[in-house]
């Protein structure tokens, strides 16, 4: 088949064609007319049409073309488009030639550069194809970095230790880091658009790029950059479109990653609001997987903010959420420290990665309060609670009845002092009498998150 193609192509004399072999492309004429169509889309400012083309995994019409051919063949077109065409042709020809993700990343990177440059003088129709290119750049960077890290781990195993000279002194930056930086340029395009007319302003796309960058930073575990981005957005919040007015998918991604940053900062109330909004926006339109992702944050945050535990039926259909949180929910209800500790240690790494570690850890305090309150009630709600009784309760709850582990009175006192300090208990410890003297009014007040 490719022979046929080569044959038909060879009939047409091509100036400056240096690639002797022809790929699985179509005829030269149809290739040229494809480019003509592309240029037409540029002229019509058809963002959707262009974004469709730039999303294609491979554009076979471009495999045997060069920009020189295009300019000689077609009527003059704006010279600003030329770099984009050039980069796009290189990308497609590289794709055909190699599967090397690093090389492809370079191509996508240059392509986004050309789009960034081109978009400067344009209205917001250019943002759709630009965003499509950015999206693919991120995906390609992820693949390239994965390959690199797996190769690096292989190499370090059989490294020649005699060569200690500094050939490896400067470590190469990974692709995601580079991507994060070039997206700054795209984001700035949106931020600095002075166009008064909101319907053509590029500002609509700000949350698209911010969300993409936050996603990258979260992958790179770079909280500093993420916080910085949030700061910049907050300072410009007045000039930006409302999050409810932009495409839902953009909004949800941004809200999600922005809320994750807030959880890490310990700002639970803002995080809670953002997750809630993201959940509302995604409620009808978006898939179960995404909702699960949001619920993983919303469940602990709802407890922290409102002291509310979700009902079992409400969660039933989200199996993943149930698997993770059933232990937590039960221990919060019963004050079972052992159960909480089991739950926490089995998902420790998961929570570390999700920025949730400290938030979840704070729930152990609630389990502890629950336990002490139960002890108080069982003891007849007397304002004088024997500390030895509490110690025994903590010991049983932490280790069960069989083990020989002993909780000391001092540890109990330390726990209770902390609970008083944080306002979970009203009262004071009488060290000499070994009792906790509780307030007659509301000895265990509800402490809501701030």
């Amino acid at each position: 088949m490719s022979q046929f193609a080569a044959h038909s192509r060879n009939k047409i004399p091509v100036a400056g064609s240096d690639s002797a072999s022809s790929g699985p492309g179509t005829s030269y004429e149809s290739n040229i007319s494809f480019v003509r169509q592309m240029l037409l889309l540029f002229r019509k400012e058809d963002g959707k049409g262009l974004s469709d083309i730039f999303q294609k995994s491979m554009v076979k019409e471009l495999l045997n073309l060069s920009v020189a051919q295009i300019t000689s063949e077609l009527p003059p077109f704006p010279k600003e488009i030329k770099p984009i065409l050039e980069a796009f042709i290189t990308l497609n020809q590289t794709k055909m030639r190699t599967g090397d993700q690093k090389a492809l990343f370079q191509c996508y990177y240059s392509l986004l550069q050309t789009w960034n440059k081109y978009a400067e003088g344009m209205e917001n129709w250019v943002m759709q194809p630009l965003a499509a290119v950015a999206d693919q750049l991120v995906k390609c960077a992820e693949r390239a970095d994965e390959i690199k890290s797996s190769q690096a781990s292989k190499r370090s195993l059989n490294f020649d230790s005699s060569n200690t000279n500094n050939n490896n002194g400067i470590e190469e930056e990974n692709c995601l880091t580079k991507t994060g930086r070039i997206l700054d340029v795209s984001k700035r395009l949106c931020l600095t658009d002075r166009n008064e007319d909101g319907s053509v302003s590029k500002k609509v796309y700000i949350y698209y790029f911010a969300g993409l960058q936050l996603k990258i930073y979260s992958k790179l575990q770079n909280t500093a950059l993420a916080k910085n981005l949030e700061k910049v957005l907050a300072s410009k919040s007045k000039e930006l479109p409302s999050i409810r007015e932009i495409p839902k998918a953009h909004a949800v991604r941004y809200l999600y990653f922005s809320a994750v940053v807030k959880v890490g900062e310990g700002d639970y109330s803002t995080a809670y609001e953002k997750f809630q909004l993201a959940y509302q926006l995604s409620h009808q339109s978006l898939g179960k997987k995404l909702k699960e992702k949001i619920l993983i944050y919303l469940i602990p945050l709802t407890f922290i903010m409102k002291r509310k535990i979700p009902k079992a039926q409400a969660l039933e259909k989200y199996e993943r959420v149930v698997t993770i949180y059933s232990g937590l929910i039960a221990s919060l209800r019963t004050g079972n420290l052992a159960q909480f500790d089991r739950f926490f240690s089995s998902f420790e790494n998961f929570f570390l990665k999700k920025n949730l570690y400290i938030a979840i850890e704070s729930l152990r305090v609630s389990v502890l309060v629950r336990l002490i309150k139960s002890t108080y009630i069982i003891n007849g709600s007397s304002p004088h609670l024997n500390l030895n009784l509490v110690t025994k309760a903590i010991e049983l709850s932490t280790y069960g009845s069989s083990s020989g582990n002993i909780t000391s009175l001092e540890l109990t006192e330390c726990y209770i002092a902390n609970l008083i300090y944080e306002g979970h208990i009203r009262g004071f410890i009488s060290h000499g009498n070994e009792i906790l003297v509780l307030s007659k009014v509301e000895p265990f007040p509800k402490v809501l998150g701030k």
């Binding site: 500094n166 890490g264 006192e413 300090y421 009488s430 060290h431």
Partner: protein, 496 residues
């Protein structure tokens, strides 16, 4: 379990002196060996010639052979590599002999493939191309002796073979030649060409206009390593203001002995920390300008870090810690104490409130690393100091189990943790016997405890009740809370 931890001895300064496996494994460059002693066996041809016709060899040839061996020991050649090098030397000298070029050849510019990969095994006068290599630079200086001048050595180390000093003229000439050769070599790649031009021009006027000081770090990064020629063990630290002079830089074998001398001075002779610290800094500088990054470098930084902590110098400790992190990641460095020092990093981040970076470290640890005694201990301490619940009871219990460097590191922050704990305690109690605080906050002695209370102006809240000293937490509350709020702002010099 806790007992287990107690048995772990962080490699201490004392144990390091006697039984350091590192030194024992490397006899050729061992700390005890005089640096200039040629490793056995010497190449036979040279030996014969010297025996039969004493004046038959040029000085430059002898020093060339000597330098080759020195380099071999510097690079810690394996026996196979050494034999290969000796064979090449022998061939080369025989070649010179048969071609009658022993006196013609420029031995100062000579190099051999065993030391400079890619170079042909031929006499330099035959190739007509000025080959160059790092070791040749050293040769340039060494070969053209103008005036052997004994150095004025104040220290008792003068028994060591003295290197010949250069007159400034020949030094300049040698350096000029070196730069020429380097830029020739470097012009092959654009990046290195740029750095070469920087090198020649240093200190360049453009550079100094925005940076008053000579940038040591940048110099070390951008320049080829030099080989030090200094044979003096002890050297005060000076911040470099220009490119380092090889005559003032100590090569690795000397530095190895320097470390021993310093350790003796510190542990046995009770030398002051300011002096020891200064000496360590100059050692670190010499290592850096020579790009020496190997186990010995690690030992220097680790030792300095420990000594710095013993003397409450968090700034130096931090600098060493930062460097160690990067050293441990270098291929070819075993990093026997990597996890120990990682545990210090974790603790340091804990006390400076940088919990995020602890989490990042944690995520990078394997299951096996998590069970390491040092790591496990530091993570337990992290857990006890959670911002959700400051478990001071557990924290101070763990603290009492720590040893040596770990304990010293915690000691740097212990009082601020005590005041934070006290802030919680004063909220929970109306009064407390002093004895309880003494044990709960693990003061080592009653005077230490009283000193602490005096420091925070809390002794006024001590009362005597029924022959017992009681701390009136109720009254002390505002004072304690004031201090604990202040303690949050920790001011520490040095980088993280």
């Amino acid at each position: 379990m806790s007992h287990n931890y107690n048995q772990v001895n962080p490699t201490s300064l004392n144990s390091r002196q006697g039984s350091n496996s590192y030194y024992n494994n490397n006899p050729p460059v061992g700390a005890g060996a005089p640096p200039n002693q040629p490793p056995p066996p010497p190449p036979p041809p040279q030996h014969q010639h010297q025996q039969q016709q004493p004046q038959g060899l040029p000085q430059s040839l002898t020093s060339f052979v000597e330098q080759c061996h020195q380099l071999a020991s510097l690079r810690q050649f394996t026996p196979e590599q050494t034999t290969q090098m000796q064979t090449q030397l022998r061939e080369l000298i025989q070649l010179a002999d048969t071609q009658n070029k022993i006196w013609v050849n420029d031995w100062d510019s000579q190099s051999i493939p065993a030391l400079v990969p890619g170079v042909a095994l031929d006499l330099v006068c035959n190739t007509q191309v000025a080959t160059t290599a790092k070791h040749v630079r050293a040769n340039n200086n060494n070969g053209k002796i103008v005036k052997p001048k004994p150095k004025n050595n104040k220290s008792k180390d003068s028994s060591i073979v003295q290197m010949d000093t250069l007159t400034s003229k020949s030094a300049k000439r040698a350096r000029a030649a070196r730069f020429e050769q380097e830029s020739m070599l470097r012009s092959s790649s654009p990046v290195s060409a740029a750095s070469a031009s920087m090198n020649t021009a240093s200190p360049s006027p453009g550079h100094s206009s925005y940076h008053n000081d000579f940038d040591e770090e940048a110099y070390a990064r951008n320049n080829k390593p030099l080989i030090g020629l200094s044979q003096t063990y002890l050297k005060n630290y000076f911040r470099l203001t220009s490119a380092p002079d090889p005559m003032n830089v100590r090569p690795l074998p000397i530095l190895k002995q320097t470390l021993q001398i310093l350790l003796d001075k510190y542990t046995k002779q009770g030398e002051k920390y300011t002096y020891i610290c200064d000496q360590f800094k100059s050692m670190r500088q010499d290592l850096r300008v020579q790009h020496i990054e190997e186990e010995f470098t690690v030992i220097v930084y680790e030792t300095h870090a420990r000594i710095a902590l013993e003397n409450g110098d968090l700034g130096e400790f931090n600098q060493c810690q930062t460097m160690l992190t990067s050293l441990y990641s270098k291929p070819g460095i075993q990093g026997f104490n990597r996890l120990e020092f990682l545990s210090y990093k974790i603790l340091y981040q804990l006390f400076t409130g940088n919990i995020d970076s602890i989490f990042q470290i944690r995520l990078g640890l394997t299951q096996r690393e998590l069970t390491d005694d040092f790591i496990a201990m530091s993570l337990k301490l992290v857990k006890s100091m959670s911002q959700n619940l400051l478990n001071y009871h557990e924290f101070f219990r763990l603290y009492s189990l720590t040893l040596k460097t770990t304990k010293r590191l915690i000691d740097q922050f212990i009082n601020s943790i005590r005041i934070k704990s006290l802030a919680i305690i004063v909220q929970g109690y109306k009064q407390l016997p002093l004895e309880f605080l003494l044990t709960e906050l693990r003061f080592h002695s009653e005077p230490e405890c009283l000193a602490f209370f005096a420091e925070y102006k809390l002794e006024q809240f001590m009362e005597l009740k029924n022959d017992k000293v009681v701390f009136n937490t109720d009254k002390a509350r505002p004072t304690v809370l004031g201090f604990s709020n202040k303690a949050r702002k920790i001011d520490i010099k040095g980088q993280i």
